[in-house]
């Protein structure tokens, strides 16, 4: 056991925890003021809900002893056998509990990301049931596939900190969620202007800050690899913020704060799977492309006419796909001997493996999310009443208002 590694992973876990309230502010600022609390609640309450799910069964399903490359068994139900000693397979220099709680924070933020797709219109009860089912039936298997000894990891797919597990999975789910939930009342007529951009920018800043724990912490050691992940994460976010703002400056004539924040998040998403395998120059390219690509994706949304309210698909879905593929382009064993070379370093096969992992994740998330939403709609009903939607979720679902 290594004290430095343990400190690093525990602090990283705390940083990642902070991303969920950060996301709450990011999303909260982007909705109308009558829905600010409802939106914040959808992230915040997952700290409670998913933590218990993770401790009881989620961790065991994700990282427990493998069943056929598909899922972990329940040997570690309620953390039995997960203790202060290191595990045999994960983070072998830190207490098993430290690895478990670090991963717990990832499990929490992933369903929280999806909430941007059905913001301002879903029942709280339906949301809770959906998130619980999604965590169990989508997140845990995907996490197992990539990191817990499942088929994706065995195939050689590279995902350092959660490009497929966290971002593609939530982005794909968001697409289905926006379609199944339907458009907000007055879509196309009502103006859904963000009610508090300073709050949204604060949230984006917290995400950026927490992301250092997310990516560098995924090295699971206080090492050069962690430093590399930290540096390329920061570089990609910076490059993507510049790229998004430049693209919108050219396209719409003005650079915006929301554009800078959105671009930074897009860059953070894209570097996530790659951060342990690519160097600084690659990170610049990954970030620049992420910023420009996600801007275009968000712009195209209006053509398709679905109401992904806070652009989860355009940023996490598209950014995640680009990041996973970019890992297959830019990965280099010079950065991480445990990884593989990408296309640009003489190994075109890696790009194909990354492509399979992307398609596998999207297909699985699409299919399962659709079924879960239909089941929840049948049992509870997804949407609040038109009257409640008009009054806003804050007062109709929570008996509170954000501003008095």
């Amino acid at each position: 056991m290594n004290a430095g590694d343990t400190v690093f992973v525990l602090l990283s876990a705390a940083l990642v925890m902070f991303m969920t309230p950060g996301l709450a502010l990011f999303y909260g600022g982007l909705v109308r003021n009558k829905n600010v609390l409802g939106t914040i609640m959808q992230s915040f309450i997952l700290l409670g809900l998913i933590t218990l799910e993770w401790v009881m069964i989620g961790y065991s399903m994700s990282f427990g002893p493998d069943i056929g490359g598909i899922i972990g068994n329940l040997d570690w139900f309620a953390l039995s056998g997960v203790g202060m000693e290191p595990s045999e397979s994960y983070g072998t220099t830190i207490p098993h509990l430290a690895f478990m709680i670090f991963q717990c924070m990832f499990a929490i933020i992933t369903p929280a990301l999806i909430t941007g797709a059905f913001a301002e219109r879903i029942k709280f009860s339906a949301f809770i049931l959906f998130s619980l089912l999604w965590a169990i039936l989508v997140y845990n298997p995907l996490c197992h596939w990539a990191w817990g000894g499942g088929w994706m990891g065995k195939m050689g797919a590279l995902d350092f900190a959660g490009g497929t597990v966290v971002h593609i999975s939530s982005g794909a789910a968001a697409f289905i969620a926006a379609l199944v939930t339907g458009k907000r009342k007055g879509f196309g007529i009502t103006q859904y202007i963000p009610h508090n951009l300073p709050m949204a920018i604060t949230g984006a800043a917290l995400l950026w800050f927490g992301w250092f724990g997310f990516n560098a912490g995924s090295a699971l050691s206080c090492s050069g690899l962690a430093a590399n992940a930290f540096v390329v994460t920061h570089i990609s976010a910076s490059a993507a913020a510049l790229a998004w703002v430049s693209a919108e400056w050219i396209h719409s004539g003005k650079p915006t704060t929301l554009g800078a924040a959105s671009g930074a998040v897009a860059g953070l998403v894209a570097i996530t799977p790659a951060c342990g395998y690519v160097g600084p120059v690659s990170a610049i390219i990954i970030g620049l492309v992420a910023g420009a690509l996600c801007f275009c994706g968000v712009m195209l949304k209006s053509r398709f006419g679905y109401d992904d309210s806070l652009d989860v698909v355009g940023i996490h879905g598209l950014g995640g796909i680009w990041g996973a593929l970019a890992t297959g382009l830019f990965a280099s064993v010079a950065i991480n001997p445990a990884g593989a070379n990408g296309l640009f370093f003489g190994n075109p096969g890696q790009l194909w493996i990354q492509f399979i992992s992307v398609i596998g994740t999207i297909a699985f998330s699409f299919f399962m999310t659709f079924i879960i939403l239909k089941v929840v709609d049948l049992i509870i009903g997804l949407r609040v009443s038109i009257e409640d939607e008009e009054r806003g979720l804050d007062i109709s679902l929570h008996n509170e208002t954000g501003y008095n």
Binding site: Q191, I193, E248, H251, S252, K254, T256, G259, F295, V298
Partner: protein, 112 residues
């Protein structure tokens, strides 16, 4: 006595206030208002999506004065509040029946 209701661009408030003080206006009321005229609102862009905002923020001044002062006051306002761009605002002139100072009960000219 007349009351002037004046809609102006927000950044012109200080100039107009000083101009009016200089010709002997002793008090006025200011509100932040929103509205539209021929300028027809403005455009806002969030993540590339354009929103037409129908109501533009403006400043409304309300100032009561003796009838003799009106022409001069209008001249000052025109001088101080004009930019030449659309959205410079309007002046409305209304008759006032009576003015009463609450503290003393004074009426008419003395109460202005």
């Amino acid at each position: 006595m007349k009351k002037l209701e004046v809609i102006i661009k927000s950044f012109k408030l200080d100039d107009v206030k000083e101009g009016l003080s200089a010709i002997g206006i002793k008090g006025l009321t200011v509100s932040e208002v929103k509205g539209f005229g021929r300028q027809r609102g403005h455009k806002e862009i969030y993540r590339g999506a354009e929103y037409q905002v129908d109501f533009v923020p403006k400043i409304k001044l309300e100032v009561v004065m003796e009838t003799e002062l009106v022409n001069e006051a209008v001249k000052v306002i025109l001088d101080k509040a004009t930019t030449g761009q659309i959205g410079d605002g309007k002046i409305f002139i209304l008759p006032v029946d009576e003015v009463i100072r609450i503290r003393t009960g004074e009426k008419g000219k003395n109460a202005i």
